[in-house]
């Protein structure tokens, strides 16, 4: 234990000395933007009606890449679902769960996580964030609810894995439609500003960027929540279904 402490302290000393030496040698963060970065900073608001350069690059400038990426994720999920075929998350006869203390604290935390995740997703075109971080943050609520309240808590509220997969499919279809709709007016696929309005009733929606963010949020949140439900299936029930073929 003492040896490892000495090694760690030595490493810390070396790291601090290295950072000190780098500063002493005159290493500075590059303050001037490169040409490409400068283009995005100056033109994002005009090209995409969004002040968030990252969201604009992901969903507009390089939008087609992101659509293909989402499609890959979609088909990967189809493969995953094939493994879980016919297996359904079922409630226990006697609901199990953790203590009242953890249940109450989870209730409070879940509310906060849900609020923050919606903010991350719906503000994704204005501030850092977006559909994927928001959706995965919301999915944490489902991941917490299943072990702490038992899977019955979700099934009793009518949240089943079938419904969640349906929501995911609908959200991804809507995402695809948002990308495809400009084609009917003869524009390229994944067109943003020439087809969608930048603001509605005075609210900046950055054209299609906020729509993509919202649908991605729904898709990611429901997909991961369904995963939490599938993982609650006991090993024996699952094996029975797989062996039956």
């Amino acid at each position: 234990m003492r040896t490892s402490l000495v090694v760690l302290l030595a490493l810390l000393g070396a790291a601090l000395a290295a950072s000190g030496a780098l500063v002493a040698l005159g290493l500075k963060a590059p303050l001037a933007l490169r040409e490409l970065g400068l283009y995005y900073v100056l033109n994002t608001i005009r090209d995409c009606a969004s002040p968030e350069a990252v969201a604009a690059i992901v969903w507009d400038y390089r939008g087609l890449d992101t659509i293909y990426e989402t499609a890959v994720l979609y088909f990967a999920l189809v493969g995953g679902l094939a493994i879980f075929r016919a297996a359904k998350a079922q409630g226990f006869k006697k609901p199990v769960g953790l203590t009242e203390l953890s249940k109450t604290s989870t209730r409070l935390i879940s509310l906060l996580i849900a609020a923050v995740s919606v903010c991350i997703a719906l503000h994704g075109h204005l501030t850092p964030g977006g559909g994927f971080p928001g959706g995965s943050a919301l999915a944490v609520v489902a991941m917490l609810a299943v072990p702490i309240y038992s899977v019955n808590s979700m099934l009793e509220r009518g949240i089943t894995s079938t419904k969640l997969i349906a929501v995911r499919g609908a959200a991804l279809t809507a995402l695809g439609l948002v990308a495809l709709l400009p084609v009917i007016r003869g524009l390229e696929i994944v067109t943003n500003q020439r087809f969608y309005p930048g603001a509605v009733l005075g609210f900046t929606i950055s054209g299609s960027i906020s729509m993509y963010n919202f649908f991605e949020f729904m898709a990611v949140a429901s997909g991961f929540a369904a995963l939490a439900l599938y993982l609650s299936i006991p090993e024996e029930a699952f094996r029975e279904v797989v062996e039956r073929g």
């Binding site: 810390l12 500063v23 939490a228």
Partner: protein, 83 residues
């Protein structure tokens, strides 16, 4: 500038400590907690490097989802690792 570099150095080293602890821990639940600690260090580093978008995704996935998923996986096997 120096503060950023110091923060990066300390967070990187702390993440190394967490990785060491996670690899050598026999209790898999504790190993998951150490792994989440390592992820927190990484998100501090990402934030120090001024990448808030990546930080948000990284925190949600690696601290929240990944840890929760591993807890599920450990619940399907044994909690203590045997040598």
């Amino acid at each position: 500038m120096i503060v950023t570099l110091l923060l990066l150095a300390v967070a990187a080293l702390l993440s190394l400590v967490f990785v060491y602890l996670a690899v050598f821990e026999r209790d898999l639940m504790k190993a998951i907690v150490f792994s989440a600690g390592q992820s927190i260090c990484y998100s501090i580093m990402l934030h120090a490097m001024a990448a808030p978008d990546i930080t948000m995704t990284y925190v949600a996935v690696s601290v929240g989802l990944y840890s929760a998923l591993l807890v599920f996986v450990v619940s399907k096997t044994e909690r203590y690792e045997e040598v």
